[in-house]
């Protein structure tokens, strides 16, 4: 579709771009004590863009901007996750970031990048949109200037990220050389009509998986994550653990189902490999390595942010696990889990942000006796952590049921068993935080003051965590219409 008629499919992105430019100017005109309005207006802009995204659900699947992007319902779902998660992050940050308001604009630009990542259909767009998200993330990670941890985190982040982008782009250059195309769909057609040299193709795929795996913290490429998560300001840690990861998964799913495999006939339900080497086996091994590493290293963490970092590696492993089945059910389970994961992870992070700020430390030992000093926060943190473990009747349980069901239906029994064993390991370190909060006595007994705002936000995230554990069909419906990429 040509550029002019594509614009009607591009309204959320255009609106967000316009909002960014307007907010940059508004920010200049505000006085120092009014700067918080930039944050409030950014949240409002994101909420309006959520409405524009909802209106895209009715649109048919179309290639827009001459095949650079694609408008389909998976893109809509990932955009929705990105916009909502950024809104929550801005609401997280409002009490803490009030003067340096460019923070909010950087988050908006990163969200725009995630919108593009959700809809990429071309090698060029994959590289550009991942960099757009990345560049903003580096700046946000180092946002608390003069804090040595934050500086170190952002330097490590940019050096690892730049390397992985370079490696991924090198893989893409070979893919381009084998097919002469940059559009993913055209690459697929070229690969099917004119099969490439298998060894070269495999090298290209591995190089690209390194770049994409970096983005979603797959195991051999995870080493940046714990340091970045610990050093970054806590709201940014929460931001990095959901939005960019969801967008990275979307790019990876799109890449796998176009370049690595192609749909059998016209059906979406099964895919045939373009490659003789068994890519699902490779992904299965990486998934097991990812979750086992995340869970076992998390066992001996004493810092709560680092614990959440390893927990997010483990959760990436669960989601990669469902990719091995290469059918609509597996990808659908991933999208469903992403929605659930966003809610419970943000809930846990909200309590951690508000409590570490008041306790003045992000060590787990600082949470001693929190169950008596601030019962509401402690009980809700316990619920979010149990939901992350996957205990019934919470939302995390349902998410994991769908992940494991898709893996078992695909016949990967050992993989499912290893996944369940990993969930059991994760119970230990999540329950340890709960034990510290309720069973250990605090050195000081006075209550931790919680604001009404904190309580309201925690309740807003707690309600869906409890509700989706028993009544999840709305989310299921939302995600099931999201996997009709080929209609």
């Amino acid at each position: 579709m040509d550029n002019l008629s594509s614009i009607s499919y591009f309204i959320p992105e255009l609106f967000l771009s316009a909002a960014i430019l307007v907010l940059l100017i508004i920010d200049l005109l505000l006085k120092k004590e009014q700067k918080i309005w930039t944050g409030i207006l950014s949240a409002a802009a994101l909420i309006i863009s959520v409405f524009f995204i909802f209106r895209q659900y009715q649109l048919p699947v179309t290639d827009i901007f001459y095949g650079m992007l694609v408008a389909d319902s998976m893109a809509v779902l990932i955009k929705l996750i990105a916009a909502i998660s950024s809104t929550v992050i801005i609401l997280f940050s409002l009490p803490y970031v009030q003067e340096k308001s460019e923070y909010y604009i950087l988050i908006l630009i990163a969200t725009l990048g995630m919108f593009l990542m959700a809809a990429v259909n071309d090698i060029l767009m994959i590289i550009i949109s991942m960099e757009l998200v990345g560049l903003m993330s580096y700046v946000l990670t180092g946002f608390t200037k003069r804090n040595p941890k934050s500086d170190e985190a952002s330097l490590k982040y940019i050096l690892y990220a730049a390397t992985s982008t370079g490696v991924m782009a090198f893989g893409f250059s070979y893919l381009y050389g084998m097919t002469g195309q940059t559009n993913l769909i055209k690459i697929q057609q070229a690969l099917m009509t004119n099969p490439p040299n298998q060894a070269a193709f495999f090298i290209a795929i591995v190089l690209i998986l390194a770049g994409l795996g970096y983005k979603i913290s797959m195991v051999p490429f995870h080493f940046w994550l714990p340091d970045v998560y610990e050093g970054a300001p806590t709201p940014i840690t929460a931001f990095l653990s959901v939005g960019p990861k969801a967008a990275g998964l979307a790019v990876m799913i799109r890449f796998l189902i176009t370049v690595v495999a192609h749909p059998m006939g016209a059906s979406v339900n099964a895919f045939t490999q373009n490659l003789q080497i068994h890519i699902p086996m490779l992904i299965a091994v990486l998934a097991v390595a990812t979750m086992t590493f995340g869970n076992t290293v998390a066992l001996r963490q004493t810092n709560i942010k680092r614990l959440m970092a390893y927990s997010s590696i483990a959760h990436a492993g669960y989601m990669i696990m469902a990719m091995v089945v290469f059918n609509a059910q597996g990808f659908h389970a991933i999208l469903f889990y992403l929605v659930i994961y966003m809610i419970m992870n943000f809930g846990a992070f909200w309590v951690i942000i508000s409590m570490t700020d008041k306790l003045g430390s992000d060590e787990i030992s600082a949470f001693k006796g929190l169950g008596y000093r601030s019962p509401y926060a402690a009980v809700s943190l316990a619920i979010f952590l149990f939901s992350l473990t996957g205990l019934p009747p919470l939302a995390g349980f349902i998410g994991k049921v769908y992940l494991f069901a898709s893996v078992i239906k695909g016949g990967w029994y050992i993989l499912a068993v290893l996944g369940v064993l990993n969930s059991v390991i994760s119970l230990y370190y999540y329950a340890n935080v709960v034990r510290v909060m309720f069973l250990e006595t605090a050195p000081v007994q006075e209550a931790v003051p919680t604001t009404f705002y904190d309580k309201l936000m925690v309740t807003l995230l707690l309600a869906p965590t409890l509700l989706f554990g028993v009544y999840w069909s709305p989310v299921l419906k939302l995600t099931s219409i999201s996997f009709n990429i080929f209609h």
């Binding site: 580096y138 700046v139 330097l155 982008t165 090198f170 381009y176 002469g180 714990p226």
Partner: protein
């Protein structure tokens, strides 16, 4: 040089040199130079393939965008390195070890 191979070999050599620079350099600016080498090897590949395989301009457009990305990345990385130099008076990445498990 009217065949594809010499360009690919040069691209692969530059890529390998870049990766080795990234692995062995301790100076943050040196690592950044390694990243530039990697990105430029990507450009060599894309332009060579555009001339010999695609016979169009897709690859050249990608190369131009990668040049821009490399510039943006270098700008941000140098700003971060400068910031670290102000607080710690070093750009040696092995001395940045505030966080350990």
């Amino acid at each position: 040089m009217n065949t594809l191979m010499p360009y690919l070999i040069i691209g692969a050599i530059v890529f390998t040199l870049g990766i080795f620079t990234i692995i062995y350099k301790k100076n943050a600016v040196g690592i950044l130079m390694g990243v530039e080498l990697v990105l430029n090897s990507v450009n060599i590949n894309f332009i060579a393939f555009a001339k010999f395989v695609d016979k169009g301009i897709n690859g050249q457009v990608v190369a131009i965008f990668i040049i821009i990305l490399a510039a943006a990345e270098a700008a941000i990385a140098l700003a971060i390195i400068l910031n670290i130099y102000r607080t710690k008076a070093t750009v040696d990445v092995t001395e940045l070890n505030e966080m350990k498990n």
